[in-house]
């Protein structure tokens, strides 16, 4: 867990004004501890992700909101899928087999 100062010092590309804007936009959601913000590992990783996207793809603020929203949806779907798979994993073998048989095989010509 680190604070704003440490985070800004860590990434020379990042300044505290834009970090405040990111928090305002809910791109990054640090925990508040009284009057100060505390960034967990997931938040630091997210800051790094935003910096990477901005640098590599020259993405501006407006496009960044869209990119993050889409990314969050993808990760959300992956988490949901993971939970569904975990639930399937716990079923008896005959149920798993039945589901496996019922899954349509992906075929190139099916589209």
């Amino acid at each position: 867990m680190i604070g704003v100062d440490e985070l800004v010092r860590r990434f020379a590309e990042l300044n505290s004004v834009e970090l405040a804007r990111w928090i305002e936009n809910r791109w990054v959601m640090p925990e508040s501890e009284g009057e100060r913000w505390v960034f967990h590992e997931v938040d630091v990783a997210r800051v790094e992700l935003i910096l990477d996207i901005r640098r590599e793809f020259a993405v501006d603020d407006e496009a960044m909101s869209l990119v993050l929203r889409l990314l969050d949806q993808v990760y959300s779907l992956r988490r949901q899928m993971r939970r569904l798979c975990d639930a399937l994993e716990q079923q008896p073998p005959e149920v798993r087999d039945a589901i496996r048989r019922a899954l349509p095989t992906a075929r190139r010509d099916s589209a």
């Binding site: 010092r9 590309e13 590992e41 790094e48």
Partner: protein, 326 residues
């Protein structure tokens, strides 16, 4: 405090040009050069720091990598915080898109399941949403937060502010005696609902920071209280901190380290399962000699020990008394 950045070492801005960096380096290198500061280790250390900072920043490749957070001040690789394992791990829930189903709810997938992609909202109906002729309504998503509060606030309760963004706050009432990991639900403080449906709730997970001297067991507070040799032997009235402020306590004459005194009703006062409960504070004494190299005390103890031979280790068995006399 945090390590100085190479920019801070050279006293330049992070967007300084190569020329500015070179000038700053030359100036500082002259100032702190070991030959000009013989016998001054501080200057030598500074000179090394300045040289290291210049070495990093004068190389455009290294400087760019440092700026991107790929290497640290010493030029060593930093561990990359890849986002994906975080996003898919337990912490990733925090960044789920608004409107996504709650944790513990596979609403989205169940809505697809069994209806062949038909109308959604059958489950939503139980939460007050659902579909109607006029359009779609769905309750707003719950939002999850975590809030760290200090030990005393957790014990006595009170108001805390939870910052949602630099300009948005939630006022949270902490009930007395709240416990680590407890979740407070603020109704209607989550994400907005769709259509005519109500907003979601804010769910706040409470964490309690440890206290330097208080410890909690249920409703009771434990504290170790240092007392002087004189206070222990002669007895005294001393102030003792409690979660509701200091109180005065009598140390009985002839107390010893480990003695436990109880301050009745000075623990946590709270409602539990509909009943008012009040804990106590337990104070464990710890004798601190302090002036152990005091010649007057040593002189007194020499005479005293001769007349009062004792072995505090007698319960530990044979052979331990030897050391006491030496």
């Amino acid at each position: 405090m945090a390590v100085e950045t190479p920019y801070e070492v050279l006293g330049v801005k992070p967007n300084a040009s190569a020329d500015e960096i070179r000038k700053a380096y030359r100036k500082l290198a002259k100032e702190f050069h070991p030959d000009l500061n013989p016998g001054k280790p501080a200057a030598e250390a500074r000179f090394k720091a300045v040289s290291a900072a210049h070495e990093l920043l004068s190389d455009p490749e290294k400087r760019a990598r440092y700026d991107r957070g790929e290497i640290d001040e010493s030029g060593a690789e930093r561990p990359r915080y890849s986002y994906r394992p975080h996003a898919e791990g337990a912490q990733g829930w925090k960044y789920r898109p608004e409107g996504e189903a709650d944790i513990g709810d596979l609403d989205d997938l169940f809505a697809m399941f069994g209806r062949g992609g038909g109308a959604a909202g059958a489950r939503g109906g139980s939460r007050g949403g659902g579909r109607s002729g006029e359009g779609f309504s769905m309750p707003g998503p719950d939002r999850h937060y975590s809030l760290t509060i200090d030990f005393v606030r957790a014990a006595t309760g009170g108001k805390e502010r939870l910052g949602l963004s630099p300009s948005e706050w939630l006022d949270v009432t902490i009930p007395p005696g709240i416990e680590e990991g407890q979740i407070l639900r603020l109704k209607g403080k989550g994400g907005p609902g769709f259509g005519s449906a109500p907003p979601g709730d804010a769910l706040i997970e409470i964490h309690i920071a440890p206290h330097p001297f208080f410890r909690r067991e249920g409703e009771d507070i434990h504290v170790e209280l240092p007392v002087s040799l004189a206070e222990a032997v002669l007895g005294a009235r001393v102030p003792v901190p409690t979660v509701t402020g200091p109180v005065t306590m009598t140390i009985p004459k002839g107390s010893d380290t480990g003695a436990q005194l109880r301050l009745r009703g000075k623990g946590i006062h709270r409602r539990r399962q509909g009943k008012e409960v009040t804990g106590d504070q337990y104070v464990t004494l710890k004798v601190v000699i302090g002036a152990s190299d005091d010649p007057e005390l040593a002189k007194f103890l020499e005479d005293w020990a001769e007349k009062h031979p004792t072995d505090p280790r007698h319960a530990m068995g044979q052979g331990t008394a030897q050391g006491a006399a030496a």
